[in-house]
């Protein structure tokens, strides 16, 4: 018979797996970071469920440490993400896939074709309505 412990463990395992999938598939740096936090949530559920099962406060103490590490990780990841964004003006993690020398050949080719360059509108004095962009193109970044 499956008791209350196993149901909590199953929820924790599902959250951990979803976080792992999100970390592997999302290309936004911030969402990768949040997916990692979701994996930590799954682990925390496991820890408190075991603590309840054994009637012991050790599981909750471990969860406090998990919270501490998550807070440190969030602060450091924020600083790193801001620095990376300042370099390339984008949150795309694919831009950072080649950290080696520039003249080295990459062993793994990107699986999808490169994104089309953003459509640049000529800088004119704004008059009338803003033209509608075509569907696949990205509108230019609006400054000020």
């Amino acid at each position: 018979m499956i008791s209350a412990l196993e149901s909590q463990l199953a929820i924790g395992a599902i959250l951990f797996t979803l976080g792992a999938i999100g970390f592997l598939t999302r290309r936004n740096l911030i969402l990768m970071m949040l997916s990692g936090e979701m994996m930590l949530h799954g682990v925390s559920i496991n820890l408190t469920a075991f603590g309840r099962y054994h009637n012991n406060a050790a599981g909750q103490s471990f969860t406090v440490f998990v919270l501490t590490v998550a807070a440190c990780e969030a602060g450091l990841a924020l600083a790193v993400i801001l620095t990376l964004y300042q370099r390339r003006k984008s949150l795309d993690v694919e831009l950072w896939s080649n950290l080696g020398e520039a003249d080295l050949t990459r062993e793994v080719e990107p699986a999808f074709p490169a994104a089309p360059p953003p459509h640049e509108y000529p800088r004119l004095t704004p008059a009338g309505a803003m033209p509608k962009p075509q569907a696949p193109t990205v509108t230019a970044k609006t400054t000020t």
């Binding site: 018979m1 499956i2 008791s3 209350a4 412990l5 196993e6 149901s7 909590q8 463990l9 199953a10 929820i11 395992a13 599902i14 959250l15 951990f16 979803l18 976080g19 792992a20 999938i21 999100g22 592997l24 598939t25 999302r26 290309r27 936004n28 911030i30 949040l34 979701m38 925390s44 559920i45 408190t48 469920a49 603590g51 009637n55 012991n56 406060a57 050790a58 909750q60 103490s61 969860t63 406090v64 440490f65 919270l67 501490t68 998550a70 807070a71 969030a74 602060g75 450091l76 924020l78 993400i81 801001l82 964004y85 300042q86 795309d92 694919e94 699986a111 089309p116 509108t139 970044k141």
Partner: protein, 253 residues
């Protein structure tokens, strides 16, 4: 031993969930979100009906279904949403559901602390960073997932293995546990009586597990050295974040 086809109660929901997540991940063109949502809901109901809690208390069971199902649904929505702001808000919902599960696990202090740290600090900060760094319109890197098929297969193979182990160890009782390795005799350790939860009510067996004094006795009794280490880690992380953060003089964000 359990042959693989007898484990269909775990394998079928895992496969359906994998199909749902694969269909819902962002990609070019239209997503089959109706079919994906149906597959995901069937998978969730299947898993929750297999590992249903047996507490014999309809209020606790209902709260478990609410928080557990809410956590899983919000997690799926978070990793499949194209808009990063919405994904961060779905992550806040995941955090709230997790805090509900903490409450069910007799951890009210942890529940409050998690809400303060995650929803109050992390999610708000990251929403601000997304709003600072977001380009106008949906960026291409949010509209295309990276290798959705491989990642989904790997993740749900892991999930299937974990669910199989949970199911196998939970069903057979004491006989089914040493399936893979013989049980190792662990040396008996007498726990520290100061850090154990105190019994409040002898008849019902109610203890003060999860209260502030119980966690405090455990933290500052058994894990005092680890608490000091955690404080040091926080300090070093603060210094590192300040050292790494971009300066305004070199160009504002």
């Amino acid at each position: 031993m359990n042959p693989l086809p007898e484990q269909w109660r775990m394998i079928v929901p895992a496969a359906l969930g994998a199909l749902a997540v694969w269909m819902l991940l962002p990609r070019d063109g239209k997503r089959r979100w109706v079919l994906g949502s149906l597959c995901g809901l069937v998978a969730l109901v299947g898993v929750l009906s297999t590992v249903r809690p047996v507490i014999d208390d309809w209020a606790m069971d209902g709260l478990f279904y609410l928080f557990g199902g809410g956590a899983v649904l919000s997690g799926v929505m978070m990793i499949t949403d194209r808009n990063p702001i919405y994904a961060a808000l779905w992550f806040a919902l995941v955090t709230l559901s997790t805090c509900g599960l903490f409450l069910l696990n007799a951890a009210p202090f942890l529940s409050a602390a998690t809400i303060v740290v995650y929803a109050g600090a992390i999610v708000v900060t990251f929403v601000f960073v997304i709003m600072l760094a977001q380009q106008a319109g949906a960026a291409t890197y949010d509209r295309r997932a990276f290798q959705p098929m491989l990642a989904t297969c790997a993740g749900f193979l892991l999930l299937g293995a974990i669910l199989y182990t949970i199911d196998a160890s939970g069903r057979g009782g004491e006989d089914a546990r040493p399936q893979f390795l013989p049980r190792v005799q662990i040396a008996e350790v007498t726990p520290n009586p100061l850090s154990q939860p105190r019994i409040l009510n002898e008849e019902t067996g109610e203890t003060d597990l999860g209260s502030l004094s119980s966690i405090g006795r455990s933290l500052f009794g058994d894990y005092l050295f680890a608490v000091e280490l955690a404080g040091t880690v926080l300090l070093i992380a603060t210094i590192g974040a300040i050292a790494l953060a971009p300066r305004r003089a070199q160009g504002h964000l």
